[in-house]
């Protein structure tokens, strides 16, 4: 078997709330390979988002080893982390987090702003992505003029603009009705078929079952099934 894209070894994370310190992640071990589609389930407050933040290089673990493409993340500078987030990782959030004053097209192009120049190719790609995601006629609409499902599809286009290796999604269907949820998970399936590695947090069993693999996070640890 080839080397994993992501390898977590005994990852731990504590939070302090007033005087109380509590451990949210109590030794996480995980291997994710290129082309994987992993769903993470678990009770609320179980540490799923915390784990995703660490995976997405938005937060650092207190201890443990995180290897991204075989390199130890701990040794990376802030700048390298920014670059990795920009080039290798796409984020999908429950609340979409689109910029309200920018159009769908502009929102899609935002990561390109930080990846050097907004080239003609990037703009072309943004158009293609939006068309592919069924938003061809919504390119110049502001987020407020779009439905939840449409907003999440803009967010997907944004996550894909820089051609990432890994897609991280935290409750991507959490704010959507069942029809929009179906659309989004279908897109995920297709992207995975095209070779994109996906890690998705969800608490909906039907959604999780569409992934290739499901893991349960409870009390800061994966439950081995």
């Amino acid at each position: 078997m080839s080397k994993p894209l992501i390898q977590l070894i005994d990852i731990r994370k504590k939070f302090q709330s007033g005087k109380i310190t509590y451990e949210v992640l109590k030794g996480i071990n995980l291997e994710v390979y290129m082309g994987d589609f992993l769903a993470i389930m678990g009770p609320s407050g179980g540490g799923k988002s915390t784990l995703l933040n660490i995976l997405g290089l938005l937060d650092r673990p207190d201890s443990g080893l995180y290897l991204f493409e075989g390199r130890e993340v701990n040794t990376f500078s802030e700048k390298e982390l920014s670059r990795l987030r920009n080039q290798k990782i796409g984020f999908i959030f429950q609340a979409f987090h689109l910029i309200p004053w920018a159009t769908a097209l502009e929102n899609t192009l935002l990561p390109a702003l930080y990846g050097g120049e907004i080239t003609k190719e990037k703009i072309q790609r943004a158009h293609e992505l939006l068309e592919k995601l069924g938003l061809g006629d919504k390119k110049n609409h502001k987020p407020a003029e779009l439905s939840g499902g449409q907003q999440q599809r803009v967010a997907i286009a944004r996550a894909l603009i820089n051609n990432p290796t890994l897609l991280l999604a935290d409750e991507p269907t959490g704010n959507l009705d069942s029809q929009s949820s179906e659309e989004v998970i279908k897109i995920f399936e297709n992207l995975n078929k095209e070779g994109l590695t996906i890690i998705m947090v969800t608490h909906e069993r039907e959604i999780a079952q569409r992934a290739k693999k499901i893991k349960f996070l409870k009390d800061g640890k994966f439950i081995e099934d």
Binding site: L58, S82, F91, F93, H97, I99, W101, A102, I118
Partner: protein, 403 residues
């Protein structure tokens, strides 16, 4: 493509226009005030310097009675009749005096073909025009014989000529001054308001002799203008004049009944006042800018707080903390800069309107523009530092929290 980049970078400030406007209001007021006041300061200085030049550093003015120089104007506190024609004649013997002219001022009416106006009637001699550095646009100066011969001839101020004659030539025409016929022999070029605060275009010059006998029947002078050969001799000449007049009037120095006024005396105060005024207003404007930039800081902090998610998102998708810092710094500078620009425009517009209205000379406000611009960018930077720092410290992990 570049506009897209700009929009994605700075679009956040432009979409709340009212708030943007409110946040820059202080800057706008500060900059326009700063600009206006700087321009006024410059103009006032220029005006005063020009007046000194026209009044002349070589001129002395002797006024009867006690005279106070106040607020840059020579004000006679009481009219006195102590200065006589013989005093003027006696002064001619003082060494260093190039020329002098007695002056008798009164008001009167002038009439020409159904038009009657009221104006200043100044009795002077043939030296007066040179002494005051007036020039003629029409006709000629008084002849010595016209002064000694009590002739009824007149030189009109520019405005008087315009009012009585319009575009028509005045030379050789007969006008009625206080009902007596005078022949117009000349017209003065436009002069404006002089250091004695009188509109020199609104006057008629007549021979001093005619003025004192036929027009006003007076045996005293309103003043004597003296021109010296060399301005550096003024202190000496001033002393000599004082000595001579004290002796002639038989008064002690403590009861002095005349005053000698130099250009310096009149303008010293005004230069100082305008300097003080400028400093004061500049300080106020800078204070205003400071308050304005505090306003920008407050608005930017509010904006950073509101746009936490946007900032977190930018960080999550690859913006560096430095990039976010620069973005918000740029936003503050842009806001203040726009405010500064509007302020400059308003200040400039007000100067264009107000300067001529107050009869100030026009100055190209080069220095004010530089000063105001530099200060705004500086204050923009200051006002942006803290909010930008705050923005750069936002934790992108908040994106996955809550909601």
């Amino acid at each position: 493509m570049n506009t897209l980049k700009l929009k994605l970078l700075l679009g956040g400030i432009l979409h709340k226009k009212l708030r943007l406007f409110l946040s820059v209001l202080g800057i706008i007021i500060g900059v326009s005030a700063l600009f206006l006041m700087n321009t006024f300061g410059e103009a006032a200085k220029k005006k005063t310097l020009k007046e000194i030049e026209t009044f002349g550093p070589d001129i002395l003015m002797i006024l009867p009675g006690q005279v106070r120089v106040s607020a840059g104007r020579a004000i006679q506190t009481e009219q006195r009749t102590t200065l006589k024609m013989e005093d003027a004649q006696a002064l001619e013997k003082i060494y260093g005096i190039k020329a002098l002219s007695p002056l008798f001022s009164g008001t009167g009416t002038a009439r020409y073909s159904f038009k009657t106006i009221t104006t200043m009637l100044n009795g002077v001699n043939e030296s007066y025009i040179f002494l005051r550095k007036f020039s003629l646009i029409e006709g000629r100066n008084f002849l010595k014989g016209e002064i000694t011969g009590y002739k009824k001839v007149a030189i009109l101020g520019y405005k008087v000529k315009k009012e009585l004659f319009g575009e028509e030539s005045a030379e050789g025409k007969v006008i009625l001054i206080n009902k007596l016929p005078f022949v117009v022999i000349g017209v003065l070029s436009p002069i404006g308001i002089d250091a004695s605060n009188q509109d020199q275009d609104d006057q008629i010059l007549v021979p001093i002799t005619t003025s004192m006998s036929s027009l006003f029947n007076a045996d005293y002078l309103s003043g004597i203008y003296v021109a010296v050969e060399n301005p550096s001799l003024i202190p000496q000449i001033e002393r000599n004049i004082e000595e001579l007049l004290l002796k002639r009037h038989r008064v002690s120095p403590s009861n002095i009944d005349f005053k000698i006024i130099k250009a310096e005396d009149i303008f010293k105060f005004r230069l100082e006042a305008s300097k003080l005024f400028t400093t004061l207003v500049q300080s106020i404007s800078i204070l205003c800018l400071l308050v304005g930039s505090l306003g920008v800081t407050a608005i930017m902090l509010l904006s950073v707080n509101e746009r936490k998610k946007e900032i977190g998102l930018r960080l999550a998708i690859g913006a560096s903390r430095r990039g976010v810092l620069l973005q918000f710094l740029l936003e503050s500078i842009l806001i203040t800069f726009v405010g500064g620009l509007v302020g400059l425009l308003i200040g400039g517009l007000l100067s264009i309107i107000l300067l001529p209205l107050l009869k100030y000379p026009w100055v190209f406000p080069f220095k004010p523009i530089i000063v105001s611009s530099a200060l705004t960018v500086f204050f923009g930077l200051i006002s942006g530092v803290y909010p930008a720092y705050k923005a750069s410290q936002i934790d992108p992990a908040i994106l996955l929290k809550g909601l």
